[in-house]
């Protein structure tokens, strides 16, 4: 039996669960304008997975990368949820991400 496949499925559950956690924390402390950075991080992890010889490790990296890309698309909606009072909103101004002027011109993706 192929237990590795099931292990990857369970890993995806864990990493998506972790995604909910970091999206909430990142939006709270940094703000949704940082969305391109987890997106690029996720893409980088997926590219890295292409160069890992072992299929199992490559698969885990692929799942992780995809979860970061999804997290990047959640940041904007999380910011709206905080605006609506459904989640705590950080009263302090948040730090501007690098290249903020360019980021502002791009519509933040969401699912």
């Amino acid at each position: 039996m192929m237990w590795e496949g099931l292990a990857i499925g369970l890993f995806s559950l864990g990493i998506i669960g972790f995604g909910f956690f970091w999206v909430i924390r990142m939006e709270y402390h940094l703000g949704y304008l940082w969305w391109p950075y987890p997106l690029l991080f996720g893409i980088a992890i997926i590219v890295l997975s292409l160069f890992v010889a072992d299929a199992g490790w490559s698969a885990l990296l692929g799942v992780t990368g995809a979860s970061f890309i999804w997290g990047a698309t959640e940041l904007k909606e999380q910011a709206v949820r905080a605006d609506l009072g459904w989640f705590p909103r950080n009263p302090k101004p948040k730090p501007a991400p690098p290249l903020v002027n360019i980021i502002r011109k791009i519509k933040a993706p969401h699912l």
Binding site: G5, A55, W70
Partner: protein, 137 residues
Amino acid sequence: MLQTSGLWLALATFLSIWWGHVGVRWLEAKSADIRPPMVALIIAGLILNLAALFAPNVTIGGVCSVVGIALWWDAFELVRQDRRVRHGHAPANPNNPRHARYLAEGKATLHDPLDREPSDPLVNVQPTAHRKPEIAS
């Protein structure tokens, strides 16, 4: 030679999450009773996870299991989406008898509260007050 297992799993994971958002909202809005789609998702998830155990390689096994577990999550998510609609955190479909009942109770809304731009995170803003739910006439 490039190892494409990660790429396939990334695709399966992202599409599963996408379906988990978009598809679950659609399915919940169209279903008068969420129990039949829940059962269908649980059975489909079970079949895919069993298929993962007998897959010929890690990539196929992983894709089957990732999609299968996502379908289980979606079954649970149907209940949460129902709760969101009931509390006015997601738009109700007035043509769905279950949603029509929630609208008549006065808590549900026809608007998508998340369909708006967030406030500027670089300036101080107070959270907006809870929006009053829209009551269907």
